[in-house]
Symmetry: C2
Subunit: 109 residues, 2 copies
DNA sequence: CTTGTTGCCATAGACAAGCTATGGCAGTAA
DNA sequence: TTACTGCCATAGCTTGTCTATGGCAACAAG
């Protein structure tokens, strides 16, 4: 019973949304936050998380800077840029549009 | 303004569900049915539809037989198999599980 | 002190499943 | 006979996930 299967395309939405709500987090915290907020359903693997963050960096939706954890460990802290905030609202409306349409199709007769 | 972007993994669900409700359809009708039921949002391209139907055939979720359209055209009619019906319920519950988790994460504070 | 465990970052390669582009054929209408 | 629509199908590209792997630092246990 694997708790994964995050639909391709929705991971960036989840990350952007998580950052928008918490301000500044490092990668591990992002994954933990998503896992917890989803009721332990959406487990973001590290091999998915870091490539996704790289993409977000390249596209300019987030910025990053190195810092130190409460546990005294090296970590990279991410935050939303202005462009990222714009992107988030775009992805949100796209998500609702598509999934609304799917649930409409799935309604019983 | 492209009306596409069906999330990977959900196309088979849409097809199986459409067949489950209409009994027997050919490919073109399936695409039309999904387009209409989604309020013209989910446009299934032929290059997505037929490979998807091939996959469903190979896995045994659907069966197919050649026939003739009302418009007197050659067409391949698809219907759900028993295994396909089982698969549909599995994909439905998986979809709701994941989708519910995502919307939970996206809830405003 | 060294071994194991956890926190944290990152990349390479495999793979699934969508999209675009292309092609073909058969009715029907202009 | 030309054009358009209905209908099926494949090849190749691309996106974005997953698995597997690796590394390094802090801290606890033995």
């Amino acid at each position: 019973m694997k708790p994964n299967d995050i639909p391709p395309g929705s991971l960036s939405l989840l990350i952007l949304n998580t950052l928008s709500r918490h301000g500044e987090l490092h990668g591990y915290e992002i994954a933990e936050s998503i896992l917890h907020a989803s009721g332990d359903v959406l487990q973001v693997e590290e091999g998915s998380l870091y490539p996704a963050l790289q993409r977000l960096l390249v596209q300019g939706w987030v910025s990053a800077e190195w810092g130190t954890t409460a546990g005294n460990r090296r970590a990279r802290y991410y935050r939303l840029t202005a462009a990222g905030r714009k992107q988030l609202t775009a992805e949100l409306s796209h998500f609702h549009r598509i999934y609304g349409a799917i649930t409409a199709v799935l309604q019983p007769a």
